[in-house]
């Protein structure tokens, strides 16, 4: 991978969601990023650890999660290339949840000192990253509603549409197909249901002609039915600088 591709998805996302200037982009592009490969299902920063760097996803999918004392894991959010899921570790010094890979990942690590310097030199970018963590919080609010109030088929539909809208921003949609490389167990953990229930819901959406899962991809079969089932309103993703 050429070095200019490292923050490409991040820059593409910032251009869509925030009012960035060319000077901001240049500063992001110049960030010292150390690139490392991680296998699937590996912890990047664990609950209770102290991070000294933030993790930019270059390739692959990650998740933030918390595990109860009984060993039950709740996936809190799914993360895609161009996102920095542990940006809050810059200000919150001890991790209160796990950040781990879902798939094989290429990750770029940015030292906290480099980010602090960037924020001081380019306050506009500090505002943008602050906005990013606020959007994170908006997504958590939506996930609480999802897991707490929607029936399981609607929960899955909502997670699917959210992922698609976010992948769209970084140009990762092919027609009515996009990547969703989660196992049934991981889908269950994201929806707060068992793997067996997740399997049943996946089959139900297929049988009703709404979406089909194929080896890590989702194919939308009926857009109207999917949107109706999800009850999706994209306002919480704040996908343009005006929102």
């Amino acid at each position: 991978m050429s070095s200019d591709a490292i923050p490409a998805a991040l820059i593409r996302r910032l251009r869509t969601t925030s009012a960035v200037t060319d000077e901001d982009i240049k500063a992001v592009d110049a960030l010292p990023i150390s690139v490392r490969e991680y296998a699937a299902e590996r912890t990047i920063v664990g609950d209770g650890q102290q991070a000294t760097e933030c993790c930019l996803i270059i390739k692959g999918f990650c998740a933030r999660s918390k595990t109860t004392s009984e060993g039950r894991r709740q996936i809190l959010s799914i993360h895609i290339p161009g996102e920095i899921p542990d940006l809050m570790s810059l200000h919150l010094h001890v991790m209160d949840h796990d950040l781990s890979t879902l798939t094989l990942c290429t990750l770029g690590f940015i030292h906290h000192d480099a980010l602090r310097l960037l924020h001081r030199r380019q306050p506009n970018l500090a505002d943008m990253f602050w906005r990013d963590t606020l959007i994170d919080a908006a997504m958590f609010r939506e996930w609480i509603v999802n897991v707490g109030q929607r029936p399981a088929p609607a929960r899955l539909a909502h997670v699917i549409v959210e992922l698609r809208e976010r992948l769209k921003v970084i140009g990762r949609i092919e027609g009515n197909r996009f990547e969703m490389p989660l196992t049934q167990e991981q889908i269950g953990e994201a929806l707060g249901i068992t793997a067996v229930h997740a399997n049943r819901v996946i089959k139900q959406l297929r049988q009703e002609g709404i979406v089909a899962f194929h080896r890590g991809h989702v194919e939308v079969l009926d857009e109207n039915k999917l949107m109706e089932l999800a009850g999706f309103d994209d306002r919480y993703l704040h996908l343009s600088p005006a929102l």
Binding site: A152, T194, V196, H197, R200
Partner: protein, 77 residues
């Protein structure tokens, strides 16, 4: 580790589990069956799509256990 199949019935209509799921032992499969039955029943009862949910668990091809959950509302007024 054993492979268990969780066939699900809602109001008598069956959704077979052809692929199955691996569990460490029968006790883990039992917990999964109860948690699955309870969460499917919650959705079915709340949306009114069914009033009886059965999770019929087979280990390999032999019946292992069956979890049945029925909604029983008695009108008093």
């Amino acid at each position: 580790m054993s492979r268990f199949h969780f066939h699900i019935e809602e109001n008598g209509s069956l959704i077979p589990d052809e692929e199955g799921h691996d569990f460490f032992d029968g006790n883990e499969a039992r917990k999964e069956a109860i948690a699955t039955g309870a969460s499917i029943a919650r959705d079915a009862f709340m949306t009114g799509s069914a009033c009886r949910v059965v999770v019929d668990v087979h280990e390999d091809n032999a019946p292992y256990l069956k979890v049945s959950i029925t909604l029983d509302v008695e009108e008093k007024g």
